[in-house]
Subunit: 233 residues, 2 copies
DNA sequence: ATCTTGCAGATAATGTGCAATTTTAGCCCG
DNA sequence: CGGGCTAAAATTGCACATTATCTGCAAGAT
């Protein structure tokens, strides 16, 4: 039994959501990620309440949470809209990742045990076994790879920030396929990262992770640009 | 006329708050910052509603927002509490600042006009004229100094993140006084930073800002530790 | 004797329906 | 074709009903 569902690092997401609010939050979030709710679409409280068999308050709470994560924009007296996840937004997000992840990695290199390494290698083996055949599964394994490194970091805020941003990028990249070049690069970088961690090279690992995140971000942006020009014609 | 009230960078804080909710948010926030609401104190919705002459919903909204900024902790079915701003929390926050601010600075160095430099120097002159006599005023001037550099950054998320964290640290440091050593260092670093920006030295500026933020964080932590040991005796 | 366990009652958070205010869209008129 | 008025729609705020948690205490077990 091997569940490869991507999960937030333990102890994270203090949510602060009420039972019903959290449920609705999950569903609306899924609807946005999957594209059932389209960019700039208006999110009418009454309508959502009806669709989710609840009342206004839980909906409002869910919308507030989604605003906090960047999926929704709320303007006073005007209501909520689905945030258009454009290139600028994605760039903002991954740039912050480029700043944070290397620092998280650096700490991990100093703390990693042989068990941690073994875990990383096991996940990487699964990634290579899957070899992007199931892209959703790849996404989850890849997330797990990074989670292993970050989940025990002492700076819970930084880790939470990373997770929040990761989720947004995952949502976007779900719509695209990996180019062959990117696939090869991901494999190479993961393997090399493991080697650097084994060697205890904190600076090297941090630099590589920065490059890895940067590459991931650029890859997504390229896809978005391609999709946009395709739409224009 | 020279208002030196610290203000968020323009276009920031898309708030997403309803009129009443925003008002209550401001007041509760002030109450936490000023210490009228003490660490771990329970925030009862009905009571707050009465005190602020409103009903439950605006209170809940305000609490959600405060949770997003780290001032409040909410647990489902148990309500909200004032977040104890302990040393770990402060360390988490300023460490993220150390990661983000240098990047924001680097961009500014590439974009700064002579007018920007003049603004920085003008603010720095005011800072030196005040010379920590009015610590609140110093805090606001210092914030303005950094805001000049960051407010036009293209990455609005990074800038907003910086602002949110800055506000928390400002809230904490309001309780302490600057040591003489720290005062001197702040002056030195600001002056040197201006010089580096003038020279167009992006890397040097970034490194100096990292050191500056690090120093500020450590300074606050030292004060907190001192206050705690004083309380223990 | 002490600790655990189970049970009311109180307290407060959560969810629901509704009234009031604001925005929005349609429509008539110039 | 454009500007102001009116009605519908949606957000916002409020009072109340419901549900969950906490407190204190008593009964039973170790």
């Amino acid at each position: 039994m091997n569940d490869y569902k991507a999960q937030p690092p333990v102890g994270m997401e203090p949510s602060g959501a009420t039972p019903a609010g959290d449920s609705v939050y999950q569903q609306i979030r899924d609807d946005i990620i999957s594209g059932r709710l389209v960019a700039n679409e208006r999110l009418v409280v009454a309508e959502l309440a009806q669709r989710h068999n609840t009342s206004a308050n839980p909906i409002r709470e869910a919308l507030q949470m989604l605003r906090g994560e960047g999926f929704v924009i709320i303007s006073p007296n005007r209501g909520a809209r689905v945030r258009p996840i454009d290139q600028d937004f994605v760039r903002d997000i991954y740039e912050i990742g480029v700043l944070i992840e290397p620092a998280l990695t650096r700490w991990f290199v100093g703390m990693a045990t042989s068990q941690d390494i073994a875990q990383l290698e096991a996940v990487q083996d699964e990634i290579e076994a899957n070899n992007f055949a199931d892209t959703l599964r790849h996404s989850e394994l890849d997330t797990r790879f990074h989670t292993i490194m970050y989940e025990r970091h002492y700076n819970r805020h930084a880790a939470e920030l990373w997770w929040k941003h990761r989720e947004v990028l995952r949502a976007v990249s779900r719509r695209f396929d990996f180019t062959l070049a990117r696939r090869a690069q991901v494999m190479r970088e993961h393997r090399e990262l493991i080697a650097l961690i084994k060697a205890g090279d904190a600076d090297g690992s941090a630099a590589l992770v920065a490059q890895h995140v940067e590459g991931s971000g650029r890859h997504i942006l390229e896809h978005m640009r391609a999709a946009e020009t395709a739409r224009a014609s």
